[in-house]
Symmetry: none
Subunit: 237 residues, 2 copies
């Protein structure tokens, strides 16, 4: 079904375990890059992007702990977990102290590993990936077609600009829920500063204008937090 796959970097020096694991994870619909040498990790991370990093600790040319420290500095948003034979309590605690999202002890059951990875990735919903709009959306008495950037009501069409479109898409896919300044700005502008926030106000103002023919629709401000597109329940079922 051509879903986007989650990308995982697996750092493991052991040939046979590395092979088994990467094959197993591939079968389970992950996109795996198997890194056999600790010294290659940073290079791989620089050239490709990943959703998760799985680290062995005992590597012939370096320590997984050291790698984790470097990763944390250069790629602070990349979640990583340890998968290792070192099971002493001190190591476990060190792993978590370094910021690991999990610490798994070998031998690990493959099915459990997959279950844990899913549990992890489910929590980290990458905002970039859920901004897809296939078909038209209903907003009160308006029809919103984000594909074509058109907002329509009783024959009146408004062509939206890119920003207006992105903002309305964001708000309408979180109908009646608070959308924080931060989420909107990071989601659409990619960063959050004073001027973007000013800009956001301008576009909210535009959308309010377009939407003001339906009394049941309001873009409400929640001071210091963000906006809510509130849509009254319409009487038809």
């Amino acid at each position: 079904m051509a879903e986007i796959k989650y990308r995982i970097a697996l750092v493991e020096d052991d040939e046979s375990l590395g092979y088994v694991l990467s094959e197993y994870l591939k079968i389970n619909d992950f996109d795996i890059t198997w890194v056999k040498k600790g010294s290659k990790v940073m290079e791989v991370l620089t050239t490709e992007s990943f959703d998760l990093l799985i680290l062995d600790i005992t590597l012939p040319d370096s320590s997984g702990f050291d790698i984790a420290e470097m990763v944390k500095v250069k790629f602070p948003k990349l979640p990583f977990l340890f998968l290792t034979a070192r099971s002493m309590k001190i190591d476990v605690l060190k792993g978590f102290a370094l910021g690991a999202v999990d610490y798994l002890k070998k031998p690990i059951d493959e099915e459990e590993l997959v279950a844990r990875i899913h549990a992890l990735l489910n929590r980290v919903v990458p905002p970039a990936r859920n901004l897809n709009a296939e078909h038209s959306l209903q907003i009160g008495s308006y029809t919103f077609d984000p594909q074509n950037q058109v907002l329509e009501r009783s024959g009146n069409r408004t062509r939206l600009t890119e920003r207006e479109n992105a903002l309305l898409l964001y708000l309408s896919s979180h109908k009646n829920q608070l959308c924080t300044h931060n989420d909107i700005l990071n989601g659409i502008w990619g960063k959050n500063d004073y001027f973007n926030k000013k800009s956001l106000n301008v576009f909210v103002s535009h959308l309010r204008k377009y939407l003001n023919e339906d009394q049941g629709i309001r873009i409400e401000n929640i001071r210091n937090r963000g906006f809510v597109l509130s849509v009254a329940e319409n009487p038809n079922s």
Copy 2:
């Protein structure tokens, strides 16, 4: 100190383990509610707000798995983990399939438990205050949605300001318990002086006004100490 703490509901029937765990977690700065009976879980979750739920599976009056299913439906945003003596693979997989964020086997090292909880909450709640894990709370006949800052009763919606919202969240998270001036002021205002205390009174007054339609709800003053949000038990069992 006097930071706002993460709130955890611990569901554990074993007296001694429950005691040890809740004390240990309290020492580590978590705000723990220990639920001894599986049948009480949903009730507690409905009236108090939590950041995490820890579930035993083998309970005398119900199964942790069943509880998880109900929680998933009614409080889909609340992360939960299993902490159990059942270590069979089938149980582990079932736990994750139900949406658990972790599955821990007894006996668990307390330090590791704390490390894992921190790893989890750091992911769920990146930098600021956690409102993501919040769901709507029941306060008497009112519904309080701290996420969207609204208080509702029989169709009447009141949009709360930031301070009102923070205060009501604090009080309702410590229902029927004394909330000292000091804790509230340090928790919400970040400092405690004469003028903040005056301000606090103003907001208490606002909340009383909003809540005065339900006779069973009162914000009581305890002279020189603080306030209690007291909610009468409703007549149904």
